[in-house]
Amino acid sequence: LRKNVEDFTGPRERSDLGFVTFDITADILNRKNGLQSFRNKITLIIFDWNVKQLFLYLSAEYSTKNNALNQVVLWDKIMLRGDNPRLSLKDMKSKYFFFDDGNGLKGNRNITLTLSWNVVPNAGILPLVTGSGHVSVPFPDTYETTKSY
């Protein structure tokens, strides 16, 4: 799993709004294919007979003065059994506005992006799994005034 990000912030009203672009490359395996070799931080997800779909989401987690813990989902995707298991998304913009509750993004050096997924079975337990491997993103100290989004 590899994520490369560029970022800049822009203020709206009284809350910080962050813009993040990212790449995601993931190999999602089918049990029939057997094992494949790991590369750095590739995570293994298995589609078996009881998995109806995977709900994948990229979330940003960070701390601010106002709030000890913040989590924001930037992007999500539903992957049904039978869909192409190779994810190769480049230069994606976040699907949801990355608003902070306040001004905690400016100068925040430690925003962690993690990829997680919810396994939806045909029937049974609904586990939430977090991928191992995450990327830390620092936001700059100044606001951008041009809105090139």
Partner: protein
């Protein structure tokens, strides 16, 4: 609760059939019938209340009523919830919540959370199948949900089975028919 009642009915009937006690005919038989029926109802209630305690949720089993979480859940699917205080609310989780003043619980996914040091948390939800988040559904002026609005977190599910409760709600005649048949079944079985 109706589902649990039906299940306990079957189970308890088998247990009783295995006790080959000699029952005296006629009048005491009606007394036993009534007692047995009462036991079935109270067993169902005990199981339901027990589930409420174990899961920490006031409504440990709910039926999905709308298509806003498709393709994961469809109308009629049954969800099993827990609502333990030790489990923190995190993004990606499927929560069942109630909006203040509304009776019907909603099943959606957590999109954003902002949690303070002392544990106070406010969060935003969105249905997988909806284009926008749930702010439009919340009360006038309400921008976030809080722990008190949560009925439970979805931990497991079984498809289709809840369709019976939806049918019973939408078609009252069907509900009376089911209750009538249930009553008939219990009475006939005793003989």
């Amino acid at each position: 609760a109706a589902v649990v009642a039906m299940l306990s009915l079957d189970f308890l009937d088998d247990v009783r059939r295995m006790n080959k006690r000699d029952r005296p005919p006629s009048s005491p038989q009606l007394y036993y019938q009534v007692l047995n029926f009462g036991m079935i109802v109270s067993s169902a209630l005990m199981i339901w209340k027990g589930l409420m305690v174990v899961t920490g949720s006031e409504s440990p089993i709910v039926v999905v009523l709308s298509g806003s979480m498709e393709p994961a859940f469809h109308r009629g699917d049954l969800l099993f919830l827990t609502n333990r205080i030790e489990d923190p609310i995190r993004v990606g989780e499927i929560v069942v919540f109630r909006i203040e003043g509304r009776e019907i619980p909603i099943v959606h996914r957590v999109l954003k959370i902002h949690e303070k040091q002392n544990g106070d948390i406010k969060f935003l939800t969105k249905g997988d199948n909806n284009a926008v988040d749930d702010r439009g559904l919340y009360k006038q002026g309400q921008h976030w949900l809080e722990k008190k609005d949560v009925v439970g977190r979805a931990r497991g599910f079984v498809p289709y089975i809840g369709i019976v409760t939806i049918l019973m709600n939408d078609y009252p005649k069907f509900k009376y028919a089911v209750l009538f048949l249930l009553g008939l079944f219990v009475l006939v079985h005793r003989e």
